[in-house]
Symmetry: C2
Subunit: 246 residues, 2 copies
């Protein structure tokens, strides 16, 4: 019986991939993934069988891994960032629900939330909520409700998939909802193409957030009531000041 | 002028540390950190100046890095997991607020949320909220309110610092609050000492969660209404079934 490694390769090139993740790729017969991620590792594994498939073929991609494992081979499902955050790890388990004999090992990676946060400063130091603005698989009402409750709870927000060609307005809509609960001066940040050529970081206010350019390679951060800009970086305090120790 | 690298070394040994993080440690004159994390890298850098300090000395630890940088040296603030999630990155920026000439670079790592999730299955595949149950720097009322709002929003919850010797009851209290909003059959998981000797994973229900053993090395996961157990693993679907594509 073969095996499936579900591998988070981190946000960019080889410098952000853990040795454990590289070892899993090296131990696999076939590397399967979304074209963008296969392209990131193509040069590192010229001798491997590479199966690159486009967006929206996620179920087929997982079935390819399952079928390779059922045929006695070792397959790596290659994911950008972390495999378990808006990644393929869940779907691999679901597709293999009827084949408990297939061994699955998820190998974590540096996710876009923490990589983008590091580029912008330290916005995620305290409690935060991650919300995807993609309505492809989740009704917008659910997304909107989560945004409002997270804002009410004064969570820092990390928004994945803030906009796409099909939905150019979702970041603007999200910002409008958050403005019901948060000051328009709340510091926000955008991190784009983190760890890859063309990497960009920008800090703005919640008032300005809706007008920012964002796409599927952007991660957006909305501060809590405590988040501030310190020397040009987005920083959420942990609470040492309140305790009088700073 | 010197520099501070704030480095997330990941959840365990060298296999979970990215090459970029290792390069930053190698480029530093001094490695500063909480004793537990310095011990994890001690053998890899026998030639470095190591400054290991106990818990509750976080502000002094950051000032040590600042003073090294002001003296023209390169210091690495070593953090377990990711430096920007309940880590030292924010405090380093705050301590250096008056010294904008000190260069600070945060290097992200694999955080406990995604490392623990990978060990348990794929609980964080969809929207989630991270909440620390430590009331050392945050009033319990704020923590309780965030737990209730996150539960109301049907977020998956990832609980950091679920209990300690000083507060053995916080996980039980949190579970009781969550039971007001979530079914007692909600699948939950605990991941302990991820990536280190003694690594443990356990799956239980929300009804059973309050009675589980947890400590500062444990990360706790509480499923959303969609989370289920698939072949013994904790899995949150992304929504492919609802779309009829699975």
């Amino acid at each position: 019986m073969g095996k499936i490694y579900v591998v988070g390769i981190g946000p960019g090139g080889a410098g952000q991939t853990t040795p454990r993740a590289e070892a899993a790729l090296a131990a696999s017969d076939a590397l399967v993934g979304y074209t963008t991620y296969i392209d990131l590792i193509r040069d590192r594994y010229p001798e491997k069988e590479l199966v690159a498939t486009p967006m929206t073929t996620e179920v087929e991609r997982c079935k390819t891994c399952r079928d390779l494992a059922l045929a006695g081979r070792t397959a790596a499902m290659v994911c950008g960032g972390d495999a378990g955050v808006y990644g393929m790890a869940g779907l691999v388990y679901q597709v293999c629900a009827g084949c408990p004999e297939v061994e699955i090992e998820v190998i974590p990676g540096v996710t876009a939330a923490t990589a983008g946060a590091a580029l912008l400063g330290a916005p995620l130091i305290h409690d935060f909520a991650a919300v995807s603005l993609s309505d492809a698989l989740t009704p917008w009402e659910t997304i909107a409700r989560r945004l409002e409750l997270a804002a009410e709870g004064d969570f820092v927000l990390c928004l994945y998939n803030p906009a796409s060609r099909r939905r150019p307005d979702t970041l603007r809509q999200a910002a409008a909802l958050l403005l019901r609960h948060r000051s328009p001066d709340t510091p926000c940040g955008l991190a784009r193409r983190v760890g890859r050529p063309g990497e960009e970081a920008k800090i703005c206010t919640l008032r300005e957030l809706g007008e920012q350019q964002a796409d599927m390679f952007t991660t957006v951060f909305v501060g809590s009531s405590q988040t501030r800009v310190v020397n040009g970086r987005l920083v959420t305090p942990r609470g040492y000041e309140q305790k009088g120790t700073l």
